[in-house]
């Protein structure tokens, strides 16, 4: 039952066989009594467990009212390992919250079973507060994963920092074997990360903390120095340093799999530091397969320090307008590029830049272009050079400028031919 979440055929059929076996065994005792209701009561716990796993909580609760056996099954620890708390207020969300009584019951009866927990909070401070209250009560639990997810505005940031930190450290101190932690957009700080490291350094594998303004480069460096099993890390560019990369590529450290960096400008004209090529090189030597995902939300004139030298970036996302010059540098200095998304660019066509990217980024397999311009000929050339490895090609129709060779009606044939599959540009409704 490895893939209980998905309902695809292979996962389903194998568990079906298992189920049949158990059913056969289960049928024997009921043959004497014969009537249907007792059949259901005889259903072994292991089958019930299998079924219950597929049911939404509410339906499990209904089922628990059928008989004592099913009611007992409702409480099996296996069913309470994963839980997602949804904390919303009617005034700020359209979605329903996890019922307070259920939360109470979980804390009372199942907190020691919880292992994989996430909190989804809406934009209200009350919801973030409620999440912290629950966290502080999880004293006897041992979580493996914890995700704090703001589904609308980042409401954890509006909490008093001390309140948030004390709730979070309850989990850090009690869990001892935390392996995944997603705490983006929260007021987590350096001392709390120290607590995390002191209690969970052997087990921590994943840490996502984009946009946590109270963490300093030294704070994250402490995590990288101590948690040698760390395989995935997400943070903002201001926390990235040569020291951090060196620490992550130390001999004691396992291979890094993903590093995600958000480069966000706080105010126009901000200056950004640069990272030495030697640090990136050390990282690639240590973890040759690691993915470097970078999201840029910068004004055009803030790209100064970026892409001057070779950088092992694999996934590049430009959320705001980016200049032809920068895209030219991307073509020159990003040999490991796999995915490129450009949301906007100036009014001059990106022809040469794309051709260069096709030429030099040999692994490029996904590209998305929003408010940009490319001549149809250059685009066809680009696709021809990349060929079938382009598995994702999302280009807004307005991007393609018809020229002497291709109009909009011809281009989809030409591109489809080179891709080996039917392709169309993305369209927006004209109404």
């Amino acid at each position: 039952m490895k893939r209980r979440l998905s309902r695809d055929k292979d996962g389903g059929s194998s568990s079906c066989v298992e189920l049949m076996e158990v059913c056969k065994r289960a049928r024997c005792p009921s043959e004497n009594s014969g009537d249907l209701p007792s059949d259901w009561a005889w259903l072994p716990q292991e089958i019930l467990l299998c079924i219950f796993q597929y049911l939404p909580l509410l339906d499990r609760a209904f089922a628990a009212q059928v008989c004592h056996g099913w009611n007992q099954a409702f409480h099996m620890p296996e069913l309470w390992r994963c839980f997602e708390f949804e904390l919303t207020q009617p005034a700020s969300s359209y979605l329903k919250a996890t019922h307070p009584d259920l939360i109470k019951q979980i804390i009372k009866k199942h907190s020691n079973h919880l292992q994989y927990v996430s909190f989804k909070v809406d934009s209200s401070t009350e919801s973030a507060e409620a999440a912290c209250d629950i966290l502080s009560q999880l004293v006897n639990c041992s979580l493996k994963t914890l995700g704090l997810i703001s589904t609308a505005r980042p409401s954890f940031m509006e909490l008093p920092k001390s309140h948030f930190i004390s709730a979070l450290t309850v989990v850090f101190v009690n869990s001892k074997s935390l392996s995944s932690l997603k705490i983006d957009d929260t007021p987590v700080d350096d001392p709390s990360l120290k607590v995390l490291v002191a209690n969970n350094s052997d087990t921590l594998k994943l840490l996502k903390m984009s946009s946590c303004p109270h963490v300093s480069p030294a704070g994250i460096l402490c995590v990288a120095d101590q948690c040698h099993g760390l395989r995935e890390l997400a943070l903002n560019y201001h926390l990235l340093s040569d020291e951090l990369l060196i620490a992550l590529s130390s001999e004691k450290h396992v291979h890094l799999e993903h590093l995600r960096i958000d480069v966000v400008s706080e105010n126009p004209g901000q200056q950004f530091h640069s990272i030495k090529k030697s640090s990136w090189d050390a990282m690639v030597r240590h973890s040759p397969k690691f993915n470097l995902v970078m999201y840029f939300f910068l004004y055009e004139d803030e790209f100064g320090p970026f892409f001057r030298e070779e950088i092992p970036v694999t996934h590049l996302y430009f959320g705001r307008s980016v200049s032809k010059d920068v895209l030219g540098r991307v073509g020159m200095n990003c040999p490991r590029l796999v995915e490129l998304v450009v949301c906007a660019n100036g009014l001059r066509p990106l022809d040469e830049e794309l051709i260069r990217i096709a030429e030099r980024c040999k692994h490029l397999s996904a590209i998305g272009l929003g408010e940009c311009e490319v001549s149809c000929s250059a685009f066809v050339e680009f696709v021809k050079m990349c060929g079938r490895r382009l598995s994702q090609l999302s280009i807004m129709e307005e991007v393609l400028i018809p020229d002497h060779k291709y109009g909009l009606d011809e281009i989809h044939w030409e591109v489809s031919k080179h891709l080996g599959r039917v392709w169309f540009p993305d369209m927006m409704p004209t109404w």
Partner: protein, 648 residues
């Protein structure tokens, strides 16, 4: 004796290409053209004054054109529901019982939408490409009916006090305050529509280029060749438009087969009509089988700022001002404000934006409006969400000089082009020289766009990855791909098709028209132009998905026990005893009953989708149904982590 007939004008406010009207007149002794006007909706708060004005102008125009034919329009004040039961079928039944023959004609769409759905295996196509493929396999639309000597020898009995009893009311009579109301940029009426279509074609012929015109600053302004409001009110027949375009193309290009792109605007309208036709919850997020559930923020203050053009982003505010003043904005402007409200910046539900458009936009059709909003908010139709229109840069690209902004936001007139899209970045001296201090005379920007779009992209990614079960790092791959050309992502699997679950045709089929015997004394004719709204569509019981069968089984068992009431008492006693699960479950049952119904409803819908070519979408929706369940686990945790959590 020649029968007396009534023509009920609903959405097709025109005399040309009006098959129902023609049918009403044919062989009839008298004809009365009626329109039901519900004055209770109007006037109370000057809401939608442009739309009401447009409607009244349409009715005025109808009346004056009917006068030329020695007839009149009968405007009946009151809700049709007071006179007739809701739903076409019910009206038909009532009429039949009264010995009245009802004739229904379709003329609001180019194609028979049921045919498109039938051709697509019983489900509306969910991508525009798929839609185009389907209609290219269909016969071209029917020609518009020619209506020379429309009235024939048919007369309309008109009483002395017709004007008092059945005249077209004025805006003032409906309670609108018209003082200082500028004249209409988009005057309503069939006559205006027919003038516009000639101008529209003249311009196209003159340009001789049938490709989509590239956007420039001028495209943002209301054009005297614009047609969308006239199509929406039915002042212009879409078939007339279609055939005039075809004729012109043939004349200019000297080729016989025009490309589909020639009819772009008309086909988009048709696409959304088709998508909505069997979906009564098309304009809702909850319970809508094609809409992704996104945890939008509920924020009335932010919504009001957007709707009232006080966002502090001149590009957005100018568009919203134009919308409120004139009732129309360019489609790219719609993209800009819709993206800003929803997935781009404010993270507010598309349903809220749709309601504002419904009130202000002259061409806001129920299905086109809802469909466009779902599209633009990436709530459906497999849209890539990576691209957020920048509320500063997008306008600047379109109109670098900022004239559009100066026109609609005179307060910013003094700003130089350099700062007009982001005046908050202008130095104090520039603000002083422009006589507009940001934060005093014009609001500061209500969000930090870079920060908001960073957060929102992340949110969309999370939602889509959860739905598509995609675990990779790519952003583009998070959205199920539509690149195999049938537009629906996953290959067609005939084995899963369920011919039995097709929703039956709800529009009265045109075959009913064929009945030639007119024995009744009154004929009630109405054009079947009512957009398929939430009412009037019957959902057929659908096969339940596997899970749902399980669920209903449990419910049945539970219900079975409680019929006597004994089971209930027992469970409550149990609850007071050693175990409190039952009581919790009971509470859950009672207090989250709404969820259950939504669950069940959307469950049915998703089952409806299963077996269709896009079963990935069914999985999609399946997940959405389980959104509230603990089965969910965030996708960003490494795979092995996830597996550890499972029972082996």
């Amino acid at each position: 004796m020649a029968p007396n007939s009534i023509h009920w004008f609903r959405r097709g406010l025109r005399l040309h290409d009006n098959p129902a009207l023609q049918e009403a007149v044919r062989g009839a002794g008298t004809v009365r053209c009626v329109y039901f006007l519900d004055p209770w909706f109007a006037g109370s708060s000057n809401l939608g004054v442009n739309r009401w004005r447009f409607l009244l102008q349409c009715l005025d125009d109808l009346d004056s054109n009917l006068r030329k034919l020695n007839s009149r329009l009968f405007v009946i004040r009151g809700q049709p529901a007071n006179v007739f039961p809701p739903g076409d079928a019910a009206i038909k039944k009532l009429a039949m019982e009264a010995g009245v023959e009802v004739i229904v004609k379709i003329s609001h769409t180019l194609y028979n939408l049921d045919k498109i759905i039938e051709l697509n295996g019983g489900q509306p196509p969910l991508t525009y490409k798929r839609f185009q493929t389907l209609i290219s396999r269909m016969d071209p639309p029917e020609m518009p009916v020619v209506s020379s000597a429309l009235m024939g020898c048919c007369v309309t009995p008109i009483s002395e006090d017709h004007g008092d009893k059945y005249g077209v009311p004025s805006l003032e009579e409906l309670g609108f305050d018209t003082e200082g109301l500028p004249s209409a940029v988009w005057p309503g009426g069939e006559t205006e529509a027919l003038t516009r279509i000639e101008r529209h074609l003249e311009r196209k012929a003159w340009v001789a280029n049938f490709e989509r015109p590239r956007m420039n600053a001028n495209s943002l302004l209301a054009s005297p060749t614009g047609l969308s409001p006239y199509l929406r009110f039915g002042c212009l027949s879409c078939r007339l438009f279609y055939f005039k375009l075809t004729d012109l193309y043939r004349k200019v290009k000297k080729t016989s087969k025009p490309p589909l792109s020639l009819y772009g605007q008309l086909l988009w309208r048709e696409f959304f009509y088709t998508a909505a036709t069997t979906n009564p919850r098309f304009d809702k997020m909850e319970g809508n089988p094609i809409c992704v559930r996104i945890p939008w923020d509920r924020n009335p203050e932010a919504l009001a700022k957007w709707a009232e053009a006080k966002t502090g982003f001149p590009w957005i505010d100018a568009i919203m001002t134009q919308l409120r003043q004139e009732g129309w904005i360019h489609h790219l402007a719609r993209h800009a404000v819709a993206c800003f409200l929803t997935r781009g910046d404010l993270w507010i539900s598309w349903e809220e934006g749709m309601k504002v458009f419904e009130e202000l936009l002259l061409d806001a059709d129920w299905s086109v409006n809802a469909g466009s909003w779902m599209w633009l908010s990436c709530s459906s139709f497999f849209q890539q969400f990576f691209h957020c229109y920048c509320p500063v840069g997008f306008g600047r690209r379109t109109d670098p000089n900022g004239d559009f902004i100066r026109r609609y936001l005179p307060v910013l007139r003094g700003f130089p082009a350099k700062y007009i899209y982001d005046p908050w970045n202008a130095p104090d001296t520039v603000q002083a020289a422009a006589k507009c201090i940001i934060g005093v005379h014009y609001p500061k920007p209500m969000v930090n766009h870079a920060e908001a779009s960073r957060l929102n992209i992340e949110r969309m990614k999370q939602i889509y990855q959860q739905l598509s079960r995609y675990r990779g790092l790519g952003l583009l791959a998070s959205v199920p791909s539509t690149h195999n050309g049938n537009g629906n992502g996953i290959a067609y699997s005939p084995g899963e098709q369920q011919p039995g679950t097709n929703t039956p045709a709800t529009t009265v089929s045109s075959s009913t028209v064929a009945s030639g015997n007119r024995t009744g004394s009154i004929l009630l004719n109405f054009d079947n132009e009512e957009n398929q709204g939430p009412s009037g569509i019957q959902q057929q019981q659908q096969r339940l998905g596997k899970t749902l069968i399980c669920v209903s089984l449990f419910r049945l068992l539970h219900k079975g026990g409680s019929v006597t009431g004994k089971r209930d008492r027992e469970s409550e006693r149990d609850a007071e005893g050693e175990d409190d699960t039952l009581s919790t479950a009971h509470k859950l049952q009672r207090q989250i009953a709404e969820i259950t119904s939504v669950h069940a409803a959307s469950g049915n819908q998703s089952a409806m989708v299963i077996g269709y070519q896009i079963h990935i979408y069914a999985n999609f929706m399946d997940t959405v149904n389980h959104y509230k369940s603990d089965l969910f686990f965030p996708v960003y945790f490494p795979t092995d982590e996830l597996d550890e959590g499972h029972i082996s």
